[in-house]
Amino acid sequence: MDLSGATLQLDSFEELATPLFDQLYNFAHWLTQNREEAEDLVQETYVKALKGFSSFQLGTNFRAWIYRILRNTFLTSRKGLKVTMTVPLYFDEDEDIPEATIERDTPETILFARSSQESLQKAIDELPVHFREILLLCEVEEMSYQEISETLSVPIGTVMSRLSRARQTLRNQLQPHSQQQAGPRIDRGTNYGL
């Protein structure tokens, strides 16, 4: 490889990678749930991405590529291995998650009535990592299903079913929070006190 080519490659990498820095850090922090580990993860991701940049085809999806590196680096880290070990052995993508019991006060209405961003962040934190990551890629990074599929290396059908389960789990997780924090007040749609 000639020198100007190497410089061009570094320039391209810088142009593509720099704008994603904040997003990658945010995603890394959500995965690791720890600032120092997130910094290490981002740093390792950039080192690997720069090292492997020659194999990246310009014009293809750089964002999905570098997110995939970050995710794989996380999954093979000590923490990543620990969290993935907690995934059920027979995790079934199509298995239905039971709907929560409240009918009239949906998690959304409770949430917005109380403007509880903290509750939502806590609920996202408590999601299993495979649900947390897909939800963040869709809602925060606003990736298309195709991009998510490339990032997670799973088929689009799996993206759809896993995303649906992640959303349902989040809704279910928001309900106990709202019930616990509501205290003795009798909420609409519940049978407390009967």
Binding site: M1, D2, L3, S4, T7, L10, D11, F13, E14, T18, F21, D22, Y25, N26, H29, W30, R35, V42, Q43, Y46, L50, G52, S55, R68, I69, N72, L75, T76, T84, L89, Y90, F91, D92, E93, T106, P107, E108, T109, L111, F112, Q117, L120, Q121, I124, L135, L136, C138, E139, V140, S144, Y145, S153, V154, T158, M160, R162, L163, S164, R167, L170
Partner: protein, 249 residues
């Protein structure tokens, strides 16, 4: 309920992932149905709330500065050199390109084999080498469902000397794959399966490992998948296991 089929796809619709031809009918339905429009509204609110809540963490200024220095491209060289130097440089580049093309392919292959050997050794050295422990292929194969982006077949081992110990997920060059561990006369053999197109290096069938690895290995491509069999068992055992896999695929 009439709306059930619409509601099942409501999230997909709000993600903008419903096919174009369905989008118009979806718009029309949501506009005319109170229940669906109300449901859509709360889901949109939820999406927005997650979008805001999800942007929770920002890097510290110190970390940002450190990383910017690492990412920044090195300053360009001055090209104010004489034409003789340019001709000489061009000649070097031509020769260099031809050599590196050859060496690049070779070193890419060597690197893959080295990584495979590392994975094999590191896994066997681990206190928990497999994540799914079973001798039953009908237990091990479904365990990979949803974890790797492809499916593969495991061979029937009845009337052979091989026994399956279990499997785990693995990564090679950022590519997810399956790692299976077999036993033959107290020797452990690893079988790795990856998607061929995801691997950067071109590997021929039955490529032999570099001599310095001192493992017996075999690799081949079949049905879009790349298989590696590696272990300290004899070359004949490696070949027998490889044949069983080839027959099962």
């Amino acid at each position: 309920m009439v709306c059930e089929s619409w509601k099942e796809k409501l999230d997909t619709y709000l993600d903008g992932e419903v096919p174009q031809e369905e989008m118009r009918s979806f718009h029309a339905h949501v506009r005319s149905c109170t229940s669906c429009s109300s449901d859509a509204l709360t889901r949109v609110q939820m999406k927005r709330a997650i979008h805001v809540a999800g942007k929770r963490y920002t890097p510290t200024a110190e970390f940002r500065k450190r990383m910017q220095q690492k990412i920044a491209a090195k300053p360009r060289r001055s090209f104010g050199l004489g034409w003789k130097f340019a001709v000489a440089a061009a000649a070097i580049i031509v020769v260099g390109t031809l050599t590196s093309a050859y060496l690049g392919t070779r070193s890419g292959r060597d690197q893959v084999f080295s990584e495979i050997a590392d994975l094999h050794v590191a896994t066997l050295a681990s206190s928990s080498p497999v994540d799914v422990i079973s001798t039953d292929r009908h237990t091990v194969k479904p365990w990979f469902q949803g974890k790797i982006p492809f499916a593969f077949n495991l061979p029937e081992l009845q009337n052979t000397e091989f026994s399956l110990l279990g499997g785990r997920m693995t990564y090679l060059e950022q590519t997810p794959g399956a790692h299976l561990i077999y036993d033959v006369r107290k020797h452990h053999i690893s079988v790795f399966v990856f998607q061929e197109r995801s691997l950067p290096a071109r590997l021929g069938d039955n490529s032999l490992s570099p001599n310095r690895l001192s493992f017996s290995t075999e690799t081949w491509s079949q049905g879009g998948l790349r298989y590696f069999v590696i272990g300290d068992a004899s070359a004949a055992d490696i070949d027998s296991l490889a044949k069983l896999f080839k027959g099962a695929s």
